[in-house]
Amino acid sequence: MAVSSESTLLFAQDAPEGFFGDRADKCVREEGFCPEWIADNYQRYIDPFWEHVFLTVVPVTIGFILAFSLALLAHRHRWLIGPVAGVTGALYTIPSVAFFFLLQPITGLGKTTAIVALTCYTLLIIFRNVITGLAAVPDDAKDAGRGMGLTERQMLWKVELPLALPEILAGLRIATTTTVGLAALAFLANGGGLGAELDAQRFFKSNVVVAGGLCILLAAVLDVIILGFQRLVTPWQRAAT
């Protein structure tokens, strides 16, 4: 943290006369919003940005595998829905700041803690959407499948899951944008990411705009990617979001 603020100062001093300009120099000293500073310093955000991507993609992937398996299990054994929704719901309710610290006695400081906590937050969203998606499959479609002689397994993979796909992917989108936001707090568990940059110079407007803006941009881009994927794999469902 101290290093980054030092490097800013160093840069301001090292800049050749006239290159940096008095106004830009003053802007940095006053912790203002300075496009020149951003243009010169954007590189320091590249690593935290990719860390943030890592902190989003890994938990969402693990969370999806877990929640999807749980949902398939609960789809067959209906009594499981209540308990699983209850446990994942309680995990979802615990504030992320608290969660990062509650986990530390068990997983220590670092990325593991961040990833475990962030994974827990994705479970409820994905589980709920897979279950509601499967429940909303029209009986007619299932009857048709049964009439064609599909086995249980074929029915699940060839009729129910494809028809539930929009709802499932909607859950994946919500989980992804939520995780981008929560990962901004992963620095509390020494997990890095853009949140660490935000925190390092939290009164420097340029820094907050770049780091915060990248968070929002990442959420939007990932959202659009999943939406595009959804359009691609559900050509019959163009109207649905």
Partner: protein, 254 residues
């Protein structure tokens, strides 16, 4: 061995919650119910103020939009935008551009609380059956009366679901209030050099418990305000063919 250390951490944290102690750097008394009570007071006050204002703004607005059938784009997309702008980022924007303090934290929390309540009020008002509204109009009710006496009661469960979502995220976000110089329960969590790990863990436990309690409490309130008619319609099918009551309930956007 590992298990013992693990229990030790939590034991120390619990003792931090209940017993005052001297900070490691010396001189200052930290922890104990007195200090945590004060922090929890600020925490709940800022959360309550934000929730009250957010409810006062979004419920009437959402119901009116839902009643008129206008502004679907606004009512729905406000939630999606809200999700894309993380609370932390919003708070940091406020700190850098507007400043610190109770009012700014409250404002961030209000902005955070509005989308789920607004969207759910809108969806709740919309999903009221048109026949019910027609019947009310036939009885001579004015638009405002229909909103207040027909749409509002029938939308109550959905509105409360939104309030529940908002309340949980507001209480969770109030934890990072100390970034903006507001001493909430996040204070011990974010000031490690004074409170050490036991303080961080203790405060984290208190925050988690408060949030779970608020979630459960609003869940109960949600049941209490659900009109009997809806509860009856939602009863799991008993013997015989079920009456086809209008139970079509869309999952709220959140």
């Amino acid at each position: 061995m590992n298990v013992l250390a693990f229990l030790g951490d939590f034991g120390d944290a619990v003792s931090f919650i209940f017993k005052e102690r001297e900070s490691v750097s010396g001189g200052v008394q930290i922890g104990g119910l007195g200090e945590l009570g004060g922090l929890a007071g600020t925490h709940l006050l800022v959360s309550l103020v934000a929730m009250a204002i957010a409810i006062a703004v979004s419920v009437p607005l959402g119901l009116m939009l839902g009643h008129r059938g206008k502004g679907e784009f606004l009512a729905i997309s406000v939630s999606n935008v809200g999700r894309a702008v993380p609370a932390v980022v919003l708070l940091f924007f406020f700190i850098a551009f507007i400043g610190n303090g109770f009012r700014n934290v409250a404002f961030v929390l209000i902005l955070l609380a509005i989308p789920p309540i607004l969207t759910n009020s809108y969806v709740g008002a919309r999903q009221v059956d048109n026949e019910v509204v027609d019947a009310a109009r036939g009885m001579g009710m004015t638009g405002v009366q229909i909103v207040r006496r027909v749409r509002l009661p029938l939308a109550m469960p959905t509105i409360f679901a939104g309030i529940r979502t908002s309340a949980v995220s507001v209480i969770a976000t109030a934890t990072i209030g100390p970034f903006a110089n507001l001493r909430t329960l996040g204070e011990p969590i974010l000031s490690e050099n004074i409170y050490r790990f036991s303080g961080q863990l203790g405060a984290a436990m208190v925050v988690a418990l408060i949030t779970l309690a608020a979630d459960a409490g609003i869940g109960l309130a949600q049941r209490a305000v659900t009109p009997k008619g809806i509860k009856l319609a939602e009863e799991p099918r008993t013997k015989g063919p079920r009456l086809s009551l209008p139970t079509r309930r869309r999952e709220a956007a959140t």
